[in-house]
């Protein structure tokens, strides 16, 4: 009797031990990777570019025979830019035991809302666009990014406005979401450090389609530069169009979302000419390693705006880690997470080697600046914090 109790106890303990150690499985059961993003709504265009670029990476892996002979399956999770739906997506992904990693979420506010869920399940996430600094400051070990943080972009944008645009009076208009508020805050902080104190700040409501009242207010301030911090390119297009209509003489300087030929340059019907935008990714056309990716993407899908390449990179880093984890025929989420965190000097298509630091952030971090000329963006400067 006593023996039986002991045996039972032992069984329970071993059971507990294994469940605590996490789910580990035979690779041949299948390998899924999630892709979380706002595939419908205002940011559908850049997010679909992210999805399609990730798909390209997966297609290439599958053509080479997959991982351990298993074809990788790509699963879309649409959050429509809504944190509540983002949480649903995270729960769906976490409960799919065959998902070993996620690319995304690309938006800071969604990433913030889902950190705990992905973190709790030890499911590795590599975002290609979420740049809110706090995301990697909360002690989570599963969250990585191949893009620079806002607190790198903010000071870089400030430097750019001072050095390149020679600005002395600056109006900052930002949307009321995590990414935009942070970027505005960091930029203003850096501007003040650089000695520029004539700054006006106000907010815009994303998707409102009419920014004339707040632009009218900005016009009265008479700035040299209008820093327009909005998430989506269509909003930026309205901003630049209405600024011109109101006769605002200031140089228009938009954020990364605006680096979109169709939804910004074409949509503004000429109003964007001479405007500046920054982006976390370089001009992909100037990087030789990216040549084949660009060619296949543009043949299969559409023109690239800049959101695709980092996503392609993120998916490849994730799959490389899964590949390493699956070498012994057995795979677990913890193994994948470990290999992602060990990524060092990964040379992909972005033109700089990728290494993650202890927090999951990219080591180094550059911001690229572009000017609208005709129907395209021309890269004119790179700032790296100095």
């Amino acid at each position: 009797m006593k023996k039986a109790t002991l045996l039972f106890f032992l069984l329970v303990v071993t059971g507990l031990f294994f469940s605590a150690a996490g789910y580990s499985a035979d690779v041949s059961k299948g390998i899924h990777v999630g892709n979380a993003g706002a595939f419908t709504g205002d940011a559908a265009a850049p997010c679909m570019e992210i999805f399609n670029s990730s798909q390209l990476a997966i297609d290439e892996w599958n053509e080479r025979g997959g991982i351990q002979g298993v074809k990788i399956k790509h699963i879309m999770g649409d959050d429509a830019m809504d944190p509540a739906q983002g949480v649903n997506v995270a729960q769906k992904f976490v409960s799919d035991k065959l998902i070993y990693g996620v690319v995304g979420p690309p938006m800071s506010h969604i990433a913030q809302a889902t950190l705990k869920i992905y973190g709790g399940a030890n499911l590795v996430c590599i975002t290609s666009a979420a740049s809110k600094p706090e995301l990697t400051e909360q002690g989570y070990k599963h969250f990585f990014r191949v893009n620079a943080r806002n607190d790198a972009h903010g000071p870089n944008c400030a430097l750019f406005m001072k050095k390149q645009l020679k600005a002395k009076r600056i109006a900052v208009l930002n949307e009321k979401v995590a990414y935009c508020e942070n970027l505005a805050k960091e930029t203003i902080k850096a501007l003040k450090k650089l000695g520029i104190t004539d700054i006006m700040q106000d907010t815009i409501v994303g998707g409102a389609k009419d920014f004339s009242p707040v632009l009218t207010k900005a016009k009265a301030f008479n700035p040299d530069v209008l820093f327009f911090v909005a998430t989506a390119a269509p909003d930026q297009a309205i901003g630049v169009r209405q600024a011109k209509e109101l006769g605002i003489k200031a140089t228009f300087f938009g954020t990364e979302g605006a680096r979109d030929k169709k939804d910004f340059i074409e949509a503004s019907e000429g109003a964007a000419e001479g405007a500046y935008v920054y982006h976390f990714g370089p001009d992909i056309y100037s990087i030789p390693e990216a040549g084949s990716y660009v060619k296949i993407f543009e043949k299969t899908y559409d023109v690239l705006s800049g959101f695709g390449p980092p996503a392609y990179e993120a998916m490849n880093i994730l799959l490389t880690a899964i590949d390493k984890a699956a070498k012994d025929g057995d795979i677990s989420r913890e193994e994948v997470r470990k290999y992602v965190s060990q990524t060092e000097n990964y040379k992909g298509i972005l033109g700089f080697p990728i290494t993650f630091d202890d927090k999951g952030d990219l080591k180094g971090g550059a911001t690229y600046f572009f000017k609208v000329a005709g129907k395209d963006f021309k890269q004119i400067a790179v700032m790296t914090g100095k």
């Binding site: 709504g41 004339s212 207010k217 006769g247 019907e269």
Partner: protein, 310 residues
């Protein structure tokens, strides 16, 4: 001080444009409420589909983003098509979603309206996709007359046109309601449906007519917003519907002139609040004013105190 005055004048222009659009949307809410005592929550979607209809009209009448005929004709056709599509849609909604429920409790009608709204939004999402449609309007209006300056205040041609068209439509509606036979029948039905029916008014036809007119005006608003702000997508109806509804309540729901006034006041308040406070508070200010009005005049600015029917 001078700069401040300029800014205020400019804000009046901004507010008046947006306000006149709100007014057009509010009319649809208020007319339906006046007769059926229901909130037609699908009205925002009717507005959105009007925007899409206008976009399609412009798209089909353009080659490489340049209109193939006189711009005035193109804009007129856009409006006529948008009003036609939205008007027909409104009539269809009434026939299939509201008429069968007319004897049912009010709550059922409200739920039916919400259902129609979700259905239409998703229908557009399915058939038109989620991406934003851009109105390529720059070639509609020659560069030389695109903006006017009076002092330092800027008037764009499109704004003036939008304000002009909305006021024309509102004037037409006013004449129709006040002077024509059908207008009289509408007023009678709104006042007392049963009595109107006894007097020989075909109440069903009047209700259909009200949906037709209200929805057509909503569709016109959708296209005018497209001309002005150049974008439409499947989700624009929600925000617009909310603002139109607010304007209708502000003016006194059920009262057509109240809706016009409510819309314009709402637009002006939003624009001016941006100057006096932060733009982040413009909706807060607008809704505080709505609440204040409702505290002191629960029946709205122009609404009448209706004794409770027993």
């Amino acid at each position: 001080m001078d700069v401040y005055l300029q800014q205020l004048t400019q804000q009046l222009v901004n507010g008046l444009t947006l306000g006149s659009i709100y007014a057009l949307i509010a009319i649809g809410y208020t007319m339906v409420y006046g007769i059926l005592f229901m909130l037609n929550f699908a009205h925002g979607e009717v507005y959105m589909i009007g925007g899409f209809a206008g976009w399609w009209a412009l798209h089909l009448l353009s080659r490489n983003n340049v209109p193939i005929m006189n711009a005035a004709i193109v804009i007129s056709l856009m409006l006529i098509i948008a009003m036609g599509v939205s008007g027909l849609l409104g009539m269809t909604i009434e026939r299939f979603a509201y008429r069968p429920l007319r004897k049912a409790p009010r709550m059922n009608l409200l739920l039916s309206a919400l259902g129609v709204s979700i259905f239409l939004q998703n229908m557009v999402l399915t058939y038109q996709g989620a991406e934003i449609r851009f109105f390529h309007v720059s070639s509609l209006i020659p560069e030389s007359i695109r903006v006017f300056h009076i002092g330092n205040v800027v008037f764009s041609f499109m704004r003036i046109l939008v304000i002009f068209i909305t006021f024309m439509l509102m004037a037409l509606l006013t004449v129709m309601v006040k002077k024509t036979k059908v207008g009289k029948a509408m007023r009678a039905t709104a006042q007392d449906t049963e009595a109107a029916a006894f007097m020989g008014v075909d109440v069903d036809r009047i209700i259909v007519f009200v949906f037709l007119i209200g929805s057509a005006l909503g569709g016109a608003a959708g296209t005018l917003v497209g001309l002005l702000f150049t974008q439409v997508d499947y989700y624009v109806g929600f925000q617009a519907g909310l603002k139109g509804f607010t304007a209708a309540v502000l003016g006194g729901i059920g009262n057509i002139f109240g809706a016009m006034m409510g819309g314009i006041i709402l637009g002006l308040v939003e624009a001016l609040a941006t100057t006096f406070f932060s733009a982040a508070y413009k909706d807060v200010v607008a809704f505080v004013i709505l609440i204040l009005v409702l505290i002191f005049r629960p029946w709205g600015l122009m609404g009448e105190k209706v004794p409770e029917k027993v």
